[in-house]
């Protein structure tokens, strides 16, 4: 089966706008991943690992950045599309849900209008039909009393409702893939679970692909089929969630999993690995994780370890991939 989305060797380079960096900064460096229909793929990493930038690069939403590599949506290269095709693909082919609904929704336009303008861009529905569709969509994402909520402004909704509204907007044109950038981070824990359940139900109902960007391993464990772990703008390892959680093949993943609290406790953030993520200015030709790694050997600093297929469906860029301990299955 052909993947809905195939990313090949994606790079994102920002010109040195900030005074902190001397030259151009490569924030994403050679990322590849696939998303199949009906599949949930987690893109995992600390802040600054390049995961959000990757998501925005897939839709060409970045300002003043150079994007390299290929982003194939159903075989068509998004990065080479002319503007009118790109507009059609956005929203209808791939739609996005952002982290902060408060910032992503226009504060001075009613929710209904923000759904309907997506419908007018992608469908031939007339005003009355758009309105009916908008009510259906709000109902589908679990907003009660939808017909009255159409006229509500974002600030009149609760945080969870705002996120539901943003999902409804993203769904409006019936996208085949949903790109979700930390969709639950801004929410209370109880609301987080509801939103994740909603996303999973939509994936199942509509057969969509879902690329879920998160720093939360708990979210990945609960929702994803496969996961791609990013470190410093590169893929550290990739594989099915069950495999990776059972037997990490990268020292970074290993450290991440160790920093998680025991099973059954609340989800937590990936903080307690000693040391800081590297800055992305001019990376040396070595594994970026070396300063924080417990498995370092001379090979790690000789050259940057390439991403290799270590077993079917598993890729790793770690020299110690076969020396990492398996984790006790729960």
């Amino acid at each position: 089966m052909m993947p809905l989305l195939a990313v090949r060797d994606l790079t994102v380079t920002f010109a040195a706008a900030a005074a902190a960096a001397a030259g151009p900064v490569r924030v994403v460096d050679g990322i590849s991943l696939d998303v199949m229909p009906g599949e949930v793929v987690g893109l995992v990493g600390e802040s600054g690992s390049g995961k959000s930038v990757t998501l925005r690069a897939l839709l060409r939403l970045l300002h003043a950045a150079h994007i390299g590599g290929r982003v194939l949506w159903k075989g068509r290269d998004v990065l080479a599309m002319p503007d009118h095709e790109l507009r059609e693909m956005r929203g209808k082919g791939m739609a996005a849900v952002f982290q902060e609904p408060t910032a992503a929704l226009n504060p001075v336009l009613p929710i209904g209008l923000q759904i309907e303008e997506s419908l007018s861009a992608h469908t031939t529905l007339n005003a009355a039909a758009r309105r009916r569709r908008a009510i259906e969509l709000l109902g589908e994402v679990g907003i009660t009393d939808a017909s009255r909520r159409l006229g509500a402004y974002p600030h009149e909704l609760s945080g969870g409702q705002r996120q539901r509204a943003m999902i409804a907007i993203a769904l409006a044109a019936g996208p085949e893939i949903l790109l979700a950038d930390e969709p639950t981070t801004a929410l209370d824990v109880t609301i987080q679970d509801q939103i994740l359940a909603l996303l999973l139900r939509l994936v199942a109902d509509r057969g969509m692909g879902l690329l879920l960007v998160t720093h939360d391993l708990g979210v990945v464990a609960e929702t994803c089929d496969r996961m791609v772990v990013l470190y410093a703008g590169r893929v550290a390892e990739a594989g099915s969630v069950a495999d990776v959680f059972h037997q990490p093949r990268h020292a970074y993943t290993d450290a991440l999993l160790r920093s998680m609290p025991g099973e059954g406790t609340a989800r937590t953030r990936l903080a307690p690995i000693p040391g800081q993520p590297p800055s992305l200015g001019r990376p040396p030709d070595a594994c970026a994780f070396v300063p924080r790694c417990g498995y370092t050997n001379p090979l790690c600093t000789e050259h940057r370890p390439p991403l290799i297929e270590v077993e079917p469906g598993r890729a790793s860029a770690c020299t110690a991939w076969n020396r990492l301990p398996a984790r006790v299955p729960s």
Partner: protein, 312 residues
């Protein structure tokens, strides 16, 4: 949500504001050093005249009763008699205020026509040559005093090219428009510089806002994004800006009317200073402040209507 209540509350606030404006103007008049009446009338006034005026102005009563009388009179639109024109101050103002209102109205329109498109161009070409050119020109405009801009326009377009009259107001609406065009343009130039500068910044901020990225992610065209998402925010900024700067616009009108000999309240104010026509100065100061506070009120209400986040 009690929107109507909030609006009523905001409207009710205007009453104490009017009272305080009256108080300031009253205090100002009492600051007149020395004997106020002889200061007004000059050295040649007879004792009899001084006495008559003193009584006429109620200056022989207690301060408090003077204040009460002043406020009561002002509330009825009675400001006494002009010393220079020998007519009620109110009728002078009624005659001249429309001229100033038309001048500032035209200036606001011209300023918006100049500033809005240019602010968009500047924001969308940020830090490239159209932006730098626009900003440089407006920076110079911002540093140019109104009277000088007026004289330059007068020299070129009225005296040189004979396209416009050198001053006055004319008869009938068409002639008013014609006569007021150069003065309004003069006022508009510095005003548009203020609007352009702030609006450019606000449009730039909106263009970089997350909700614009999200709108792009929905597949909306740049035209829809610009006309719906960006313009709406720009309109909110503009309304606030125009409201906030109405005072400096009226101040500018004082100068412009003097340069172009426009018979509005601004010129009346300057003339009154030289003829020591204090009742007129007092009344104008009060009327113009009331005008500003009414504009602030209108701005708040309009802003509330445009921006759903505000309470009013």
């Amino acid at each position: 949500m009690n929107r109507a209540g909030a609006i009523a509350g905001r409207i009710a606030q205007i009453v104490p504001t009017f009272f305080l404006i009256g108080l300031v103007v009253f205090v100002l008049a009492r600051l007149l050093p020395g004997d106020a009446v002889s200061a007004m009338l000059g050295d040649r006034a007879t004792d009899e005249t001084v006495q008559r005026i003193t009584h006429q102005l109620g200056l022989d009563r207690s301060i408090l009763s003077q204040l009460v009388a002043f406020l009561a009179q002002a509330a009825q639109g009675r400001f006494g008699e002009s010393l220079a024109f020998r007519v009620p101050v109110a009728s002078l103002i009624v005659e001249r205020l429309p001229v100033t209102l038309m001048l500032t109205g035209m200036a606001t329109l011209i300023a918006l026509c100049l500033a809005l498109p240019l602010a968009f161009v500047a924001a969308m070409t940020a830090n490239r040559w159209p932006d730098i050119l626009i900003r440089t020109v407006f920076q110079v405009g911002l540093s140019s005093p109104v009277f000088f801009v007026g004289l330059v326009l007068l020299t070129i377009f009225a005296a040189g090219l004979h396209l416009f009259p050198v001053g006055g107001y004319g008869e009938g609406f068409g002639e008013h428009l014609y006569h007021l065009f150069l003065p309004a343009l003069t006022l508009a130039l510095s005003f548009s510089a203020v609007i352009m500068r702030t609006l450019r910044g606000s449009i730039l901020a909106v263009l970089r806002a997350e909700f614009v990225d999200f709108a792009r992610a929905k597949g909306l065209s740049s035209r829809v994004i610009l006309l719906r998402h960006v313009l709406r925010s720009a309109a909110i900024t503009t309304v606030t800006l125009v409201g906030l700067h109405i005072g400096s616009l009226l101040g500018g009108a004082v100068i412009t009317e003097s340069v172009f000999a426009v018979p509005g309240v601004g010129r009346l104010m300057v003339d009154s200073i030289f003829s020591r026509d204090y009742p007129v100065i007092q009344a104008l100061t009060l009327i113009l402040a009331v005008l500003v506070s009414l504009t602030f009120l209108a701005t708040d209400l309009l802003h509330g209507w445009l921006d759903p986040r505000t309470g009013v």
